[in-house]
Amino acid sequence: MAGAGKNYLNHEKGIMSWLTSRDHKRIGLLYFYSIAFFFLLGGILAMLIRTELFRSGLYFSPDLYNRFMTYHGVIMVFFVIVPGIPAILGNIIMPLHLGARDVAFPTVNLMSWYCYVGGALLAFLSIFMGGADTGWTFYTPYSINFSGANITAALAAFVAGFSSVLTGVNFVATVHKLRAPGMTMNRITLFTWSLYATAILQVLATPVIAITVLLLAMENIFGIGIFDPELGGDPVLFQHFFWFYSHPAVYIMILPAMGVISELITTFSRKTIFGYTAIAYSSLAIAGVSFLVWGHHMFTSSQSEVAAIIFSVLTMLVGVPTAIKLFNWLATLYKGSIQMQSPMLYALGFIFIFTIGGVTGIFLSTIATDIHFHDTYFVVAHFHYVMVGGTLMAIMGGAFYWFPKITGRMFSEPLARMSWVFIFIGFNVTFFPQFVLGAMGMPRRYADYLPAFESLNQISTLGSYTIGFGFIIALVAIIHGALHGNKAPDNPWGSKTLEWTIPSPPPHENFETIPTVTAGPYEYR
């Protein structure tokens, strides 16, 4: 190593050394700052939405509400949860897990961040063009109505999509080409397996949304009839294209979270993971089946009855590998040595919330009940349980778990635990009542609602403020830890994976000598 005290954070200095860095850890941090910014923005919009819904009647105009709702969705999906785990934790940790000095294409990695920034700028531009009000789904023909801002917002998703594709290509190549000697495919970590499955989805699914947005633009500019019924197009075709991407995108959001959870459960139980092969291959199975189930978003869209039935049965198949993962994590706890540190609290919180998200998924894949629940608050509650409760809990757990490695300092455990209490309780208070609202028939994307729905909406709104408070505490814990935390040891949690064998924070090129691997990743004996 190049002298004591030298690491990737102080290896080079100045803002330009960050903006042109090809070090996977620095790019991961660039992503962290930008994603954290968007998360804050999306979170504020969420609380504005909940404030409007605090009582029956209107505080804002419906048009303003519709823009809050649209930008909350676009930002949280395309700029927070899709890139979240792969681009931050994946970038920083995955090469360390493989025993590599960097990802396969460091320059492409930096380029992916600039694509993300480009998409973000387009999203801002669309706000100044009047603001999109289509919801994050951009359904035609509504999105053709007042084309400027809506098309620009869709283009933002298009450009940000390239960031996703580039990260995916990079990760697939890295996993195949840069494993340390002895690191066979059945010795890579489950986190890496989940990123690998995600990367395949990113590479294969994202181009479809790009093509769809291009078709939308061509229709607008050249008047070619594709989705617009007035030009002889088919608006339902847009829904097929959209969900052909966006359903796999749901797994782009959740698979890496499952990978993080596997790491946390095994570390804090100090026990080898139960069913390594089953968890690894169930990630691939979920990725594969996810391409064949998009029609379950469209049971009421006027697609044929036969199509609906086929999509329903295929969707049920996704449930099986998901259940397998839950049981495997549970079995890992059996006869372990369980330590309830804050990352573990987040992991257990994930299992609790994800189980609710999972079982309510069955209500929606069963066609007859979906007809009632479709486009009601039941769906809103379900996908927040899966994507927010699931993915965000994993991001937070992972962030605290790898915090000592990334920053070289320890965070305040009491603060981290307190953030968990508020986020976990606030989350359930916010979203559980929404299942009931949905069953009662309250449709989603409503700026105003009938007085009968008021009391449950009030509980939900109070819950959302609780979540907001929890994230403020988490932010304080992170900033305080990064600036004033105690110096972190190389391996504070007693983990077995490779990143804990090098100093905290890691040196510029990670490993002084590339390690030779002789055993699996979770050898707790």
Binding site: Y142, S301, A323, P443, A447
Partner: protein, 340 residues
């Protein structure tokens, strides 16, 4: 299986006002109980293990268990079986829901930003109204109890002259009936229900359609048959009697040049006869045969060259796209339906 009927004691669902709604609720009850059991097993296990195997010392020895094929098979297979039961049950109820009874009373539904219009066969048209205080009274669809109803739905522009404006998606949702169907511009979609309870029930728009989405409410009022028959005639306020949809269609047939090429008595002219057309099997110069339904007739009126009936020359009929309003197209189809 005694617990199923007791399980759907309106578990947060609105009152069930059709037979299908009762069936959906039984399935919902099954799902609720199965998920509750699974949730308790998983979370109970979690809480038990976390408590029992809490770290005692810094150097606890843990068991080295990598896998167990029997266990893994069990926890894959049992969920699989449960999921397949949910699927099959759900598909069956869904098919019942989507079955369109032959003898159903047809009502035309038009969604436009941001209101509902209902048109009955006899030409009676229901729109929303405003009360003395300026408050909106949602459009109220009146239907008789215990009679199947079929809705033929489409979406139109508010202002046909505005080139920038678009007809958009809507969705017709009656929580008390547990039915929902999207309404797609440029085609007809349909749904059916048989109300079994009298009362007034809400209709929500459940496909996002812009500014007025959340105020796009309607109501369905279920009354007994006699009351319905009196209501549907309309009020006798002395004005000229509305033409029925079929009568309007006949007027269009005469005045918009249909009569030049289509016969009503089965004889062959430049175009196919309209007699017995609805519900007949059509064969085309190109493409697969199909049964003539509302959507086929709509397409043939607006874009006649899309499917040319076998034995007839293409390019004989001008497009009526933009020439006829949606309601007029519907009237022509209703007229064709009467020509048995």
């Amino acid at each position: 299986m005694l617990w199923i009927p007791s399980a759907h004691a309106q578990s947060f669902m609105p009152p069930a006002a059709t037979d299908i709604a009762e069936n959906v609720d039984s399935l919902y009850g099954f799902l609720l109980i199965t998920s509750l059991i699974s949730f308790v097993i998983l979370m109970g296990g979690l809480a038990y293990f976390v408590n029992k195997y809490r770290r005692r010392t810094a150097n606890d020895k843990t068991a080295y268990i990598t896998h167990d094929h029997t266990l893994e098979f069990i926890w894959s297979f049992i969920p699989f079986v449960i999921f397949m039961i949910c699927f099959a049950w759900g598909a069956k109820v869904y098919l019942d829901m989507r079955h369109m009874p032959e003898d159903a009373m047809e009502v035309h539904v038009i969604g436009k930003k941001w209101d509902w219009e209902f048109i009955y066969k006899n030409g009676r048209k229901i729109t929303s109204d405003v009360d003395d205080a300026g408050k909106k009274i949602p459009a109220n669809m009146v239907v008789p109890i215990n009679k199947p109803v079929r809705l033929i739905m489409t979406s139109t522009k508010v202002n046909p002259e505005d080139k920038r404006d678009r007809a958009v998606l809507h969705s017709f949702f009656v929580p008390a009936f547990r039915v929902k169907q999207d309404i797609v511009p440029g085609r007809y979609t349909q749904m059916s229900f048989t109300p079994t309870k009298k009362g007034k029930f809400y209709i929500f728009c459940t496909e996002y359609c812009g500014t007025g989405h959340s105020s796009m409410l309607g109501t369905i009022e279920v009354v007994d048959e006699l009351a319905f028959n009196n209501w549907v005639i309309g009020d006798d306020s002395g004005g000229p009697k509305e033409l029925s949809l079929a009568e309007k269609g006949k007027e269009i047939f005469k005045t918009r040049a249909c009569i030049g090429c289509h016969s009503l008595d089965g004889s062959k002219m430049t175009g196919p006869t309209w007699k017995g057309l609805y519900g007949s099997n059509r064969e085309f110069n190109e493409g697969p045969a199909l049964v003539a339904d509302d959507n086929y007739l709509r397409e043939s009126i607006l874009n006649s060259n899309a499917k040319v009936v076998k034995g007839y020359a293409p390019n004989q009929m001008p497009s009526y796209q933009g020439q006829l309003e949606d309601e007029e197209v519907t009237a022509v189809i209703e007229f064709i339906k009467t020509l048995k």
